[in-house]
């Protein structure tokens, strides 16, 4: 809305400046020669009785248009502010800059993946209310309530450090939670789990082989057609090049896929944020 407003304002200024330029050009050489043809349809220069008035109008329009096109000088008129009145005058703080700082500082916390904080002036602009949409990185073993409380405190502390002493409320909207890869050490745990699983598998196979040998090795001919059989999970026979080859360990992959994808996403995001910083 604000951008549209500025755009319309600037376009109006361009139109005003061009109007002024046209009026000036109609009475001034060499622009006169170029513009007279176009202007003759609208106004007829030879018939002007008050040429000087037209020139002045053109000048005023042109200057006003150009001035309007220039960016605003000094203090900004628009924007949300918090105002502290005093006997000597007002102290006005623009909340956009405080918001940006708040997002930047709180966004550096290890628990915060992304934050979009908004500060709203309340009670005649003397106090503020903070609303923050956050994506949290929750370490394993840490409760959501604990993490949100920490983030909330951090927001309030940062705002307080910036001079927002009168914070009436901090509303935290947790829009997303992600497992904190670095804090939980999930890859390491996964490696350990896989290693343990592999060891378990090998030991069970050895145990199976040993049992078969002890039983006299009567079923030794079956080894060529059937693969290793896990206890309690009979697998279908594997055919070379068939669909069953890819499906044989499907149950294990499905369990691993979702967290792995999520972890990769989190790692990528953290790397990107680290690079950006």
């Amino acid at each position: 809305m604000r951008i549209l407003q500025i755009l319309i304002q600037k376009l109006t200024c361009v139109a005003v400046a061009l109007g002024g330029l046209l009026l000036l050009g109609a009475r001034t050489a060499p622009i006169k020669t170029h513009l007279t043809g176009a202007l003759s349809k609208v106004i007829e220069p030879p018939n002007w009785k008050y040429g000087i008035v037209i020139i002045l109008m053109g000048l005023i329009l042109f200057v006003a248009g150009v001035f309007g096109l220039l960016p605003r000088a000094g203090r900004r008129k628009g924007g949300r502010t918090i105002r502290f009145p005093s006997a000597r005058g007002d102290v006005v703080i623009y909340l956009d800059s405080v918001e940006a700082t708040l997002n930047r500082v709180v966004g550096k916390l290890p628990e915060v993946n992304r934050i979009a904080a908004r500060i709203f002036p309340v009670e005649d602009g003397t106090k503020v209310r903070i609303t923050a949409d956050v994506a949290l990185l929750v370490p394993s073993g840490a409760g959501m309530r604990e993490v949100t409380a920490r983030v909330k405190d951090a927001i309030a502390d940062t705002a307080s450090g910036l001079g927002m002493d009168d914070v009436t409320a901090v509303d935290l909207n947790v829009v997303r939670t992600l497992p904190d890869v670095k804090a939980t050490g999930i890859p390491a745990r996964r490696r350990e789990a896989s290693q343990a699983y592999a060891e378990k598998e090998v030991s069970s196979l050895i145990h199976e082989e040993t049992t078969k040998d002890r039983e006299g090795g009567e079923e030794s001919g079956d080894e060529e057609t059937s693969g290793p059989v896990l206890p309690g999970r009979p697998l279908p026979p594997v055919e070379e090049g068939g669909e069953d080859a890819s499906r044989s360990f499907g149950e294990y992959q499905v369990e691993e896929e979702e967290p792995a994808a999520l972890i990769e996403e989190v790692e990528e995001r953290q790397d990107t944020e680290d690079k950006r910083d």
């Binding site: 000094g74 007002d90 405080v98």
Partner: protein, 123 residues
């Protein structure tokens, strides 16, 4: 502003007050620079970030727009700037001052300084 004296007239341009206000403001701890607009950067204003007006009652209204360093207490900075500007003007002139409005337009992290959050703590 002009004062009629026996030997002639003394005039003080409003830009003089603006310059004093800017000088005193920049001396305050936490103020990085004045918030100068585009036209002011082009040199169209002698004291960027400060505007001085003469009120109907003869007092001055001074608007100071600043950019401050991160970590500055904004609420205490405002009154400090007001006090400094007022005392600076009183040292140099008898001109009554009506209002000194302080606009904190932006907060910046100075280059080369470690940010508090990166150090693992907050201020």
């Amino acid at each position: 502003m002009s004062d009629s004296l026996a030997l002639g007239k003394q005039e003080v341009d409003l830009s003089v007050y603006a310059k004093v206000a800017a000088y005193e403001t920049l001396r305050q701890e936490g103020v990085l620079r004045m918030n100068a607009g585009f036209t002011e950067k082009l040199g169209m204003n002698k004291s960027p970030g400060v505007s001085v007006r003469l009120l109907d009652d003869g007092g001055l209204q001074i608007d100071v727009s600043v950019i401050v360093r991160y970590g500055t207490d904004l609420r205490s900075l405002g009154p400090a700037v007001q006090e400094a500007v007022l005392s600076g003007l009183r040292r140099m002139s008898d001109q009554p001052v009506g209002q000194i409005n302080v606009y904190i337009a932006d907060i910046e992290f100075p280059r080369g300084e470690a940010r508090p959050a990166e150090e693992g703590g907050r201020e």
